[in-house]
């Protein structure tokens, strides 16, 4: 009798550990997916409002201050806009990198994505980083007023990255939902 009970106990223990890993793994993956979704929403709402970004790099404000014929005022505006532009750029890059790292951590494992989609997300991220670096250099060298075009291109690159990330997250979530359904109590009997 003991010959049966011992291996049975070990078997049950192993089964329990495996079940725990399976459930825990799924929960953490779900958590990471929801983190990625939050990070993406945060990036979109807080750092990509086009009206505000347009204002930061607007040339008319500089023309208006130039009309005041006071060198100190122009210096103040340039310094202030440089600070705000750098703040925007730094946080947008940080948030985009966070979305990318969450994608690498969770969604990529959850969703068997097509090579085209994988390339798309990598290319858009690379384009965004290139635009960011160009914009940063231009802000420091020539000031925000003369960096408007590059700022718009950076915005466009970040928006494209968001669109592809959204697509990828939707795929990953659909796949996760499918897996959860299959491993849940309503698993179909085959």
């Amino acid at each position: 009798m003991t010959q049966i009970i011992f291996p049975l106990a070990i078997g049950l223990l192993l089964l329990g550990v495996m079940l725990y890993w399976l459930l825990h793994g799924d929960t953490s993956r779900n958590f990471e997916l929801s983190n990625a979704r939050d990070a993406l929403a945060h990036l979109r709402s807080d750092f990509l409002p086009s009206n505000i970004v347009d204002r930061i790099f607007d040339h008319d404000d500089f023309a208006f201050v130039l009309d005041e014929k006071e060198a100190g005022l122009l210096r103040l505006l340039q310094a202030e806009r440089k600070t705000v532009a750098t703040y925007w750029l730094r946080h947008t890059r940080r948030q985009t990198t966070l979305v990318m790292s969450l994608y690498l951590k969770s969604a990529r494992q959850s969703a068997r994505l097509s090579v085209a989609l994988e390339l798309q997300i990598a290319l858009n991220y690379l384009l965004f980083l290139t635009a960011c670096n160009s914009l940063q250099s231009l802000i420091w060298l020539r000031g925000p007023a003369r960096a408007r075009k590059i700022a718009q291109q950076t915005m466009a690159a970040a928006t494209r990255f968001c669109t592809v990330s959204e697509k990828m997250l939707t795929l990953a979530e659909a796949r996760y939902a499918g897996l959860a359904k299959m491993s849940g109590p309503e698993r179909p009997v085959t």
Binding site: I52, R55, D60, D61, F64, L73, V84
Partner: protein, 143 residues
């Protein structure tokens, strides 16, 4: 559903009765932020609470505050200087410019829900606008 309808009606009521007579976006923003309790972050308006409920009045004021702030954050500097001048003249211009520059009360005009980028641009723009007004006032005094 009914609450949402009441909230919409409260927003309309607030815009028509209270905000419309105020002159300029800055004046509206100052008024709306002054209805907020700085400790709890909740908005209070007796008239609106009497017509609707305290919670609906809070929601309506918060929504109008957020809209008003976004509008001011997005206006060009030229317009902001004009509006700020108009507002400060309606209180007591010369002292007000210096007080606003020293105490930075405009930081209290931001709603709790505003995004950090808008908040940063708003504070920066108001500070620049005040410096422009101060410089103009100095020039006027010299002349």
């Amino acid at each position: 559903m009914l609450t949402r309808m009441h909230a919409r009606a409260a927003v309309q009521d607030l815009k028509n009765r209270t905000l419309a007579p105020l002159h300029g976006d800055i004046a509206r923003l100052v008024y709306l932020s002054a209805t907020r309790d700085y400790n709890s972050g909740k908005y209070y308006h007796d008239g609106l609470a009497l017509r609707f409920t305290e919670e609906i009045a809070n929601q309506a004021l918060a929504q109008c505050h957020a809209e008003s702030f976004q509008k001011v954050a997005e206006i060009p500097l030229r317009e902001l200087v004009g509006q700020l001048q108009e507002y400060l003249e309606s209180v007591c211009a010369d002292e007000a410019i210096q007080t606003w520059l020293d105490l930075e009360p405009y930081r209290m005009l931001m709603p709790l829900t505003c995004d950090p980028l808008s908040a940063k641009l708003f504070c920066s723009n108001v500070m620049i606008a005040l410096t422009i007004l101060e410089s103009r006032a100095k020039k006027q005094r010299k002349n």
